[in-house]
Symmetry: C2
Subunit: 144 residues, 2 copies
DNA sequence: ATTGTAGTTGAGATTAAATTGCAATTAGGA
DNA sequence: TCCTAATTGCAATTTAATCTCAACTACAAT
């Protein structure tokens, strides 16, 4: 059973890079969020031990290593998501309360492949985000 | 037949804002690109007449007025697209040559609506971008 | 266990995008 | 034509993100 740390370590090793305590802490904290997070949230929890520069540098490595992914931008800040061991999914974003709903729709994935084929396009990654109002916020809009 | 200027003027009027020469020029230039553009490209063509600040301020108004749309970010710069009088579409982005291919796939749109219904979600807008290699770049990768 | 070295870190400087404050200017209704 | 609130350009500012560099350290070779 391969752990996130195993994966990160082997990515680093393959590039002649080192597994440092800072990188270990950042990996653990990123995992702790179990989903979406941004640099500020991470920095807030690690500021006593780790500088912003190192956080930025490490996030970039975690992306290259396939452990996290940059998702949509939120208020002009880069936003990340832990992807190790998780299936690909897309997002609904509530523009009122900020809630993020993950969904997976295989038919959409299939259709995307078809589109790519149609254009001779070789897809590497894709991102689908739908902005709107979540169920609760839709209701409160109708009422109020 | 309603023109882009009509639409922008009526948006401005509805908010008690003014239709200035600067706004007129920016609207025309944005339209001239017939598709995707960023602030730099616009500024390059208008620098003699219009300041960067005004371009940023006007783009924001054009977005609110429904004439342009912020699309994906490209190299950390906001990128816009003229949408007035055009149908919604999604994008394929070549990460090698930078080419942008627009496509429209109604089945994907339909499926998105279904997903939203499933979650009681009221969609306002969505964005689907697929990154990869365009036909030419795919070929040159195989060769080289 | 020791050593050597290439990679890493933190602090602060730097870059670049985008926003803001303000005095001078102007659109457009009265 | 006049009046006023909106707009503009400029420069200063803000903010995210990157970079520089001296001090430090992981880790492989010895």
């Amino acid at each position: 059973m391969i752990t996130p740390e195993d994966k990160f370590r082997s990515y680093l090793k393959s590039r002649g890079l080192k597994f440092t305590p800072q990188r270990s802490f950042i990996l653990k904290e990123a995992f702790f969020f179990q989903g979406h997070f941004n640099v500020d949230q991470l920095y807030e929890k690690l500021r006593k031990r780790i500088s912003r520069a190192t956080i930025y540098r490490t996030l970039s490595l975690l992306v290259k290593g396939g452990l996290i992914e940059e998702t949509f931008r939120c208020q002009d800040k880069g936003s990340y998501e832990y992807i190790f061991g998780r299936k690909h999914h897309d997002h609904l974003l509530c523009i009122k309360c900020g809630k993020i709903i993950e969904f997976r729709e295989d038919k959409i994935e299939k259709l995307q492949e078809e589109v790519c084929k149609r254009y001779g396009f070789t897809p590497i990654e894709h991102r689908l985000g739908i902005k709107g109002y979540c169920e609760e916020c839709s209701k409160s809009l109708k009422k109020g």
